[in-house]
């Protein structure tokens, strides 16, 4: 049981998801295309061993390998592990055994799942065969799994050209990981204060600089920043740029100004958009204040306060 985190710390789900697109070399292309055609290919090394699954370079000698051979879809379990609860993305939904299988004709073993009724039905040395996926696309998952097999042993590996019509040249491997993100004490306090439309910095006990947003540590002194200081709400534009490229999914008309803004009392500038003034009238030293839109958890943009510009000397250290 995981203890509940202390109440002052924020948490939120964070999903990292990406469809990795990977190109294949000649050996991997032949192997994965072969699986699509229910043909298992290996590669013969210079010293005569047959590697299944095949690789392009010998793991022992580093020789480049391209001598493809075909092996049997039957083989022998070299080791196994009973997995009582299938996890997301694994080959079978039911309990199954992970197995390393040395296919007949091969000298090395392939990792996959074995569909078996229970752990007592699995042992090292047992005979198995490939169960092909009904729909095959040229991927390791074209092998749905292995299943027990009591037929004849397959023969030696035989040479294979590795040539297929319409070979697969790449795979797309979707990956998704789920996290619970917790930003820690300092950033939690900062985000909570923003919820009340105030900005909290933290002061370094050593150099006295006030960091905003605070991360809990002073990067100059390497010590914790734990004295909380309310900064702003007004601030000074220290430097800026004019953005002329419209960002996708962002409803802001170009050109607009993106600026470094040193909030009053802060020891460094943060980023923000400047609005409420023509883009070509924004200048260093311009005094600004945050504009909150309804339900927003952070300022939408900053607008001029109408005060006189700040003197350069007051913000020159904050550029």
């Amino acid at each position: 049981m995981t203890p509940a985190p202390s109440p002052e710390v924020l948490q939120a789900p964070l999903v990292v998801e990406f469809p990795f697109t990977r190109s294949l070399g000649p050996v991997q292309s032949a192997f994965l295309t072969g699986l699509r055609e229910r043909t298992v290919l290996g590669v013969r090394t210079t010293d005569g061993r047959v590697l299944v699954p095949p690789v392009e370079y010998d793991p022992v000698t580093a020789d480049e390998l391209s001598d493809l051979v075909e092996v049997a879809p039957t083989g022998t379990v070299t080791t196994w592990a009973w997995n009582p609860a299938s996890r997301r993305g694994q080959p079978l939904d039911t309990p199954f055994a992970w197995v390393l299988v040395r296919l007949d004709g091969a000298d090395t073993a392939l990792l996959h799942a074995l569909d078996a009724p229970g752990p007592d039905a699995v042992r090292t040395g047992m005979r198995v065969r490939i169960r092909w996926a009904e729909e095959r696309v040229g991927a390791i998952t074209d092998i749905a799994c292995f299943e027990p097999y009591d037929g004849a042993e397959g023969g030696e590996a035989v040479p294979h050209s590795g040539e297929f019509t319409d070979p697969v040249t790449g795979i797309v491997a979707p990956a998704r990981l789920d996290y619970t993100y917790a930003p820690g004490r300092a950033q939690s306090r900062y985000l909570k204060a923003l919820g009340d439309r105030t900005t909290q910095g933290e002061r370094c006990p050593s150099c006295r600089k006030v960091y905003v947003p605070p991360r809990g540590a002073c990067p100059t002194c390497g010590v914790a920043t734990d004295e909380q200081v309310e900064v702003g709400p007004r601030g000074t534009v220290t430097t800026f740029c004019i953005v002329n490229i419209k960002a996708r999914n962002l409803d802001i008309e170009v050109p607009y100004v993106y600026a470094h803004i040193a909030l009053d009392g802060a020891g460094l500038a943060l980023h923000g958009r400047v609005g409420g003034i023509p883009y070509d009238q924004v200048r260093m030293g311009l005094r600004v204040e945050p504009v909150w839109s309804e339900d927003s958890r952070y300022p939408d943009h900053y607008r001029p306060t109408g005060e006189p510009d700040a003197d350069y000397d007051t913000y020159k250290e904050l550029l």
Binding site: T79, A81, P84, I140, Y181, P183, R185, G216
Partner: protein, 358 residues
């Protein structure tokens, strides 16, 4: 050859969940601990090297956030490995050997609690043939354990399920003396065998706890080391080796990379009195003991080892740190430290540490 030593070691209290602190907030007290021990400020360190993993954090370039904790402004000489901190220590050691630096700060950290570690670790596997099957880290270790149990020489290694449980019981009982450990104390091996399998043949006690933690060491060369530490832990040799990526190519019951790294590090030139082995799974300790030729006279993992606390990316550095700390306090004269990374002992690092005879 320049003499280089570990002169300080610190680590966090490793815990299942540390949601209340960010990585840098977790790391900073440990950095202060080692810097205070040698009386140096961050700016006085010549070289800094860290180990961590973006996949644990779920964020790109996550190590840059932790740099706030070392005081990286004004700019420092810094490097990072996307591996266990033991490999960061190796990089720092080579830097000191070149003479470009006299002192180095090495740290590493990992928070496993935000994600599902067994799934996260699948992302280090071969992306073409293996990762699309999502085999989790415990299952891969179970394949290795079963291979060891089935091996023809299993009687020689004493590898049976009771022997595995004995490794767990000894480690977690030893951890009662380690205030940083996450899991301490154990019923006797016979009782452990009553537990159900997690992934057969592994039970929960055969597996490391999942947790968050950080560690740091300070390295120093020659007279600087003698000035900073009463009894420096001299690194007499260190080497790391890797094995074929594909699990089906390897004999999972052996670890030739560990043996070769140990040989190159000089581990077999004289007997050690202590060994800190990074064996996250019980079966891996039996494999490592055989490769390193460790007899009954060697104290193995008096800290409790990775079975008592296995913060990802820090647990290997902790093995080096625990071995060094034993030398610092006079509890060992010659110690082996081992770190591993990747599935089924894929990559292995061995260091030989010695203290001066006082």
């Amino acid at each position: 050859m320049r003499e280089v030593a570990i002169v300080a070691f610190g680590q966090s209290h490793h815990r299942r969940d540390s949601a209340e602190v960010s990585e840098v907030e977790m790391l900073m007290p440990v950095l202060h601990q080692v810097l205070d021990a040698v009386g140096l400020r961050a700016g006085e360190i010549d070289f800094t090297c860290s180990g961590s993993s973006d996949y644990l954090a779920g964020r790109a370039f996550s190590f840059t956030m932790a740099l706030d904790g070392v005081g990286a402004w004004p700019p420092i000489s810094e490097s990072h490995v996307e591996m266990d901190g033991a490999w960061a220590l190796y990089e720092a050691w080579t830097r000191l050997l070149t003479g470009e630096a006299d002192t180095a700060l090495v740290y590493s950290y990992g928070k496993s609690s935000p994600g599902d570690l067994r799934e996260v670790l699948t992302r280090q596997l071969d992306p073409y043939y293996v990762a699309p099957l999502w085999p989790d880290s415990v299952s891969l270790a179970a394949l290795q354990a079963q291979a060891l149990l089935d091996a023809e020489d299993a009687e020689d290694t004493g590898a049976d399920e009771r022997a595995l449980a004995a490794v767990a019981a000894r480690s977690r009982t030893a951890a009662e003396d380690n205030p940083h450990a996450q899991v301490t104390g154990s019923p006797p091996p016979e009782t452990l065998l009553d537990d159900p399998y997690l992934v057969r043949p592994l039970r929960r006690h055969d597996c490391p706890p999942v947790g968050d933690g950080a560690a740091a060491v300070v390295l120093a060369a020659g007279d600087t080391a003698r000035r900073l530490c009463r009894r420096p832990a001299w690194i007499r040799g260190m080497d790391h080796r890797t094995e074929a990526h594909s699990l089906g190519v390897r004999d999972l019951t052996r670890s030739p990379s560990t043996r070769l790294a140990a040989e190159r590090a000089g581990a077999f030139e004289a007997p050690a009195d202590l060994a800190e082995l990074h064996a996250p799974f019980t079966s891996q300790e039996l494999i490592l003991r055989r490769e390193l030729g460790l007899g009954e006279g060697v104290r193995v993992n008096p800290s409790g080892g990775a079975l008592a606390a296995n913060p990802m990316m820090a647990a290997g550095l902790i093995r080096l740190g625990e071995a060094a700390a034993a030398i610092h306090r006079g509890a060992a004269d010659r110690a082996l430290a081992h770190a591993t990374s990747g599935p089924c002992l894929q990559q292995n690092l061995v260091a030989v540490l010695e203290g001066d005879v006082l």
